[in-house]
């Protein structure tokens, strides 16, 4: 089994096919979308492939060490290019192909007009802490 991170972006990913902001949907479309996400996580829990999932707030800041005293906190100067992660799901699956398959399914979550969003999700393999024993 191998762990993969599925990343959903607020900003920074290529535009989705059905790219309409959520506050322009109908309340029913929002409900359908949230139900889809819940069902997806529940299903992966049942198949034993779910590890963790969390949503992140859209507010974020850059912080770095800048010598003595308080570190500077800024929302820029890279605000216009900054990737913004909306949330993640960690899955533990047989391999890369299964991770891509699941990311594809998640990207089909319904959006405006009840049609799939076709959003781009990032799939990243975890680096394991220990080498796999092969012999």
């Amino acid at each position: 089994m191998a762990k993969y991170l599925l990343l959903k972006h607020y900003r920074g990913a290529p535009a989705a096919v059905n790219d309409v902001p959520m506050d322009q949907w109908t309340p029913e479309e929002i409900s359908a979308h949230l139900q889809f996400m819940r069902d997806f996580a529940d299903r992966l829990e049942k198949t034993g492939e779910f590890v963790d999932g969390q949503a992140l707030a859209p507010e974020g800041a850059w912080v770095r060490y800048d010598g003595e005293g308080r570190p500077p906190v800024t929302d820029g100067p890279f605000a216009e290019t900054k990737d913004l992660i909306a949330g993640w799901m960690i899955i533990d699956v047989d391999g890369y192909d299964r991770a891509v398959e699941l990311a594809g399914e998640l990207s089909a979550a319904p959006g405006a007009g009840g049609k799939p969003i076709h959003e781009w999700l990032e799939v990243r393999p975890f680096l394991a802490a220990h080498p796999t024993v092969t012999d």
Binding site: D23, S31, A57
Partner: protein, 381 residues
């Protein structure tokens, strides 16, 4: 073996050891050892006086450990100097633990964890699961807290207000897994209310009961947020509400008003209304005026603006809002609601979307996004 009995005795045993001079961490280890012994011995040979049995065994365990310790002489001197244990007049054993666990040298989250461990008798695993952190992390947080208070003795009475803040924090931390922290906080506050006679303790207990009574109706079957006005009042726990109101009235009658009593009074007025439309908003505004006087908190002023919007109309609410800092948490949500009621869905939709972006949790974000979507969809039709 009666596990609830053991859990209720543990804090008292711990307190006696600490009062006799054991430091907090060593006393806790000794009590744990005594509990293990109890689980082994009691099923076959139950003691007549379980607490006395636990004190004796725990004290022996502590002395064994102390003798093995390099600081043996110092600790034994400490024991020699200590007056023999006797009844502490007017003060319940457990009460002293409350004050120790809410000591001002602890951060609020450490104080909450230590209270659950020492007064509530919960295991580290249960506390960790309730806070959604790894058990090792919580074990460290608790042992650091124990070290922090290990030099603190019981001769200085703590501040009731600090204890109440810690209990309210526990109440608000919610629940997961097998421990419901809200219910646990109510249990502990009941204990505290039985031990000391203080109108603010009663006020906090009433406030918790009144909030807790409405819990089942606060979320839909899918976990979505249901606002007060739309809640199914048939699902409110009327017995718990009646108990909360009774406790509150007795506290108010003593004419020593404090923050928790005033908050409980607002909660009681909501709980008492048969329908949302029959809510006595005029009285609620008056209670918020009291709260402003007592706390001068901007969050209270924000809540007051909402109440004023209901009592005197959305314009009055918006006027009150204009005097506040728009970076306050939930400011945009309140502004959105008042603008919608004032007949301006366009501004309201924009503010709901802004509020959703700033929402502190998923349930609120989804609720606010849906409000924005509802108004935007309505305008397109």
């Amino acid at each position: 073996m009666d596990e609830a009995l053991v859990r209720s005795l543990t804090p008292g045993v711990l307190t006696i050891l600490v009062r006799r001079g054991a430091d907090f961490a060593a006393a806790e280890d000794a009590v744990q050892d005594a509990l293990i012994e109890a689980f082994r011995v009691w099923p076959a040979d139950p003691p007549r006086d379980p607490k006395g049995w636990l004190v004796t065994v725990a004290w022996r365990k502590f002395l064994d450990q102390a003798r093995a310790d390099s600081a043996r002489r110092r600790r034994e001197d400490l024991v020699e100097d200590e007056p023999p244990p006797g009844p502490a007049p007017g003060l319940d054993d457990t009460l002293q633990l409350y004050f120790l666990c809410a000591h001002p040298s602890l951060t609020p989250s450490s104080a909450a964890a230590l209270t659950l461990r020492a007064v509530g008798g919960l295991t580290t695993r249960q506390i960790a699961r309730a806070h959604l952190v790894p058990e090792a992390t919580m074990a460290q947080r608790i042992s650091r807290a124990k070290r922090t208070v290990s030099g603190v003795r019981f001769d200085r009475p703590g501040d009731v207000a600090t204890v109440l803040r810690v209990l309210y924090l526990v109440f608000n931390e919610g629940y997961s897994g097998d421990v419901d922290l809200a219910a646990e906080a109510i249990r502990l506050t009941r204990q505290l209310a039985a031990a000391i006679d203080h109108p603010e303790v009663a006020g906090l207990l009433a406030l918790m009961l009144l909030h807790h009574a409405r819990r089942a109706s606060r979320t839909g079957p899918d976990g979505s947020l249901v606002p007060l006005a739309e809640q199914d009042r048939g699902r409110w726990d009327t017995r718990m509400i009646a108990e909360g109101i009774g406790i509150l009235q007795a506290a108010l009658a003593r004419d020593r008003l404090g923050e928790f009593q005033a908050q409980a009074a607002v909660a009681a007025l909501h709980a008492d209304a048969p329908t949302a439309g029959e809510t006595d908003w005029v009285q609620i505004v008056e209670w918020y005026d009291e709260l402003v006087r007592l706390t001068d908190s901007p969050v209270v002023r924000l809540n007051r603006a909402v109440a004023l919007g209901e009592a005197d109309g959305p314009r009055a609410g918006l006027a009150a809002l204009a005097a506040l800092d728009d970076s306050l948490p939930r400011y945009a949500a309140v502004a959105a609601y008042l603008h919608e009621r004032d007949g301006d869905p366009e501004t309201a939709a924009r503010l709901y979307a802004e509020a959703a972006r700033k929402a502190p949790n998923l349930a609120e974000r989804d609720y606010l996004t849906r409000q924005a979507a509802r108004l935007n969809a309505g305008r397109r039709r």
